[in-house]
Each structure stands twice: as C-alpha cells, then as structure tokens.
Amino acid sequence: MKKDPVSFSKKAALNGLFIALAIILSYVESLIPVPFFIPGMKLGLANLAVMCALYLFDAKCAALVNLLRIIIIFLLFGNVTSLIFSLSGGMFSLLIMILLFKSHSFKTVTLSAVAGISHNLAQMLAALFVVKAVSFVRYTAILWFAGLLAGLVTGALCGVIINRIKKYGIDQTI
C-alpha cells in the first residue's frame, strides 16, 4: 500500500472495521455452546479478524487489532483475571503467528492451528501462575488438540475469506 494520506485513512478505517469485527466475533462465539467437556473452550473466531489484518496489512496492524479487541472486551464484560488470560493467550499466539507469517512458507490453516495451540498453552501457563493449581497440567494434551482442531477450522475459514478479499482487491471492498 502506498503511503499517501488517502490510503492511510483507508487503512485506519479498515482496521477499525477489523477491531469491531473481532469484538463482535468474540461476543458471538460466547453464545455458541461447545459440546465438549472443558468449560470455556471456544473456536477463536476473533482470530479471523486478526489474521485478516495480518494478511491484508501487516503485523503491526494485527497486533493493534488484537490488543484493542482484548482491552475493549475487558472494558465491556471482563474482569482482571480474564484480562490476564486473554492477554497472555492472545498476544503469545499472535507472536507465534507473526513469526510463521514472516517465514512465508505456511498457509493460513497451519498458522491458525499453531496459534490455537500456543494460545491454549499460554493460557494454561498463565493459569499456573495465577491460580497455582498444578492439576491443570493433566489437561495439557486435551487443550493441545482442542487448540489444533479449533485453529484448523478457523484457519481454513480465514484462508477462504482472505482469498476472496484479495481477488476483488482491498480497495474495491470499500
């Protein structure tokens, strides 16, 4: 993207859109019941918006979208404990995603799967520090595969979305 004022404001507007999308997706997925045995397990739909920002713009935008989403969700519904969990999970998984993205050798599905796993692992480590309950550790494997599966689903979805947007061009979408 060129660095003229018009494209800058376009970028700002689109990033605002992504943040709004991420927030509403976070909310929507809390309404979807998960038919599994771990409470709080979810798909990670908000990652769709973050990944779109990463692929269509850059790592900085993705980090911004993710961070603002977490902070706004915290201000709207959250408490401090959930802020710690979403910050650790969200930011760590984003870091891993950006690293994989920069290597230019992986598809969205893989990126998202790795992000899912690292998100869950980071949250578990945070839980270990906050609650100091070592009994969480026995869920590591379950969390690992849950993250992998959820990541595969959202990653595949994200690949489709990004391809569509790229096909028509980011400038034609607004």
Binding site: F106, V109, T110, V137, R138, A141, L148
Partner: protein, 114 residues
C-alpha cells in the same frame, strides 16, 4: 488449490504438531500423580486414611448400617464387596490417581485418593 507440493511444509509442521501433542498426552498421563493414601469419609465426616503401599482389606461401616469392604492391593484401591442395593461402588472398579473417588451413595461412603 494446486498440487500437494505447495502444502508440503504445512503438512510437515501439522504432523509434527500432532506427534508432539501425542507425546504430551503420553507424558502427562504416564506421569499422572499417583496418590499416597486413601481417605474414607462417611456422611462427610472423615473416618480414616489408609496408605496405598500397604495391602489391606478393611470393613467400612456405612451410615445407618451396612458395610463396604475396602481393599488396597498393588497401590490401587477398590471396594470389593458391599451390601448396598446398587453395588455401584463395587462396579466403579479400582482407583489410584489423586482425586479419583469411589462413592457408595446408600451408605454415604466416599473414598478419595490424595
């Protein structure tokens, strides 16, 4: 979508992740915390604790009568016999990891590992 070749690295990484996940599973479940003793409570009151490294067989009196036979053998705990109507405690089988429980509802007997 193209040939499978362009997914080569992805497939490699994903299969590595699945393998690593299986390793984690094996590691965590093998290293599952084995308990030290069995705590028996009757109607929420602690009745006694039995170390897992001694093979014993004791009678646990139920709340308002009845009896359960608690057996510890090879560091696993089971209720081998009971005169309760449903015998769910016997059917539960043996337990050995921390926080596993055997419950006999009619006799209000709970055996928990810790």
């Amino acid at each position: 979508m193209g040939s499978i070749k362009q997914y080569k690295k992805d497939i490699l990484l994903l299969s590595f992740l699945i393998l690593a996940g299986l390793m984690v599973a094996i590691f965590t479940y093998k290293g599952e915390a084995v308990g030290k003793e069995a705590v028996v409570t009757i109607d929420s009151r602690e009745y006694g604790t039995y170390p897992l490294d001694q093979d014993i067989s004791v009678e646990i009196p139920g709340y308002h009568g009845g009896v359960n036979i608690l057996t510890i053998k090879n560091k696993t705990v089971s209720i081998t016999d009971a005169d309760c109507p449903d015998k769910l405690c016997v059917k539960t089988g043996s337990i050995k990891s921390i926080n596993e429980t055997i419950i006999c509802l009619p006799h209000r007997v709970v055996v928990r590992i810790r």
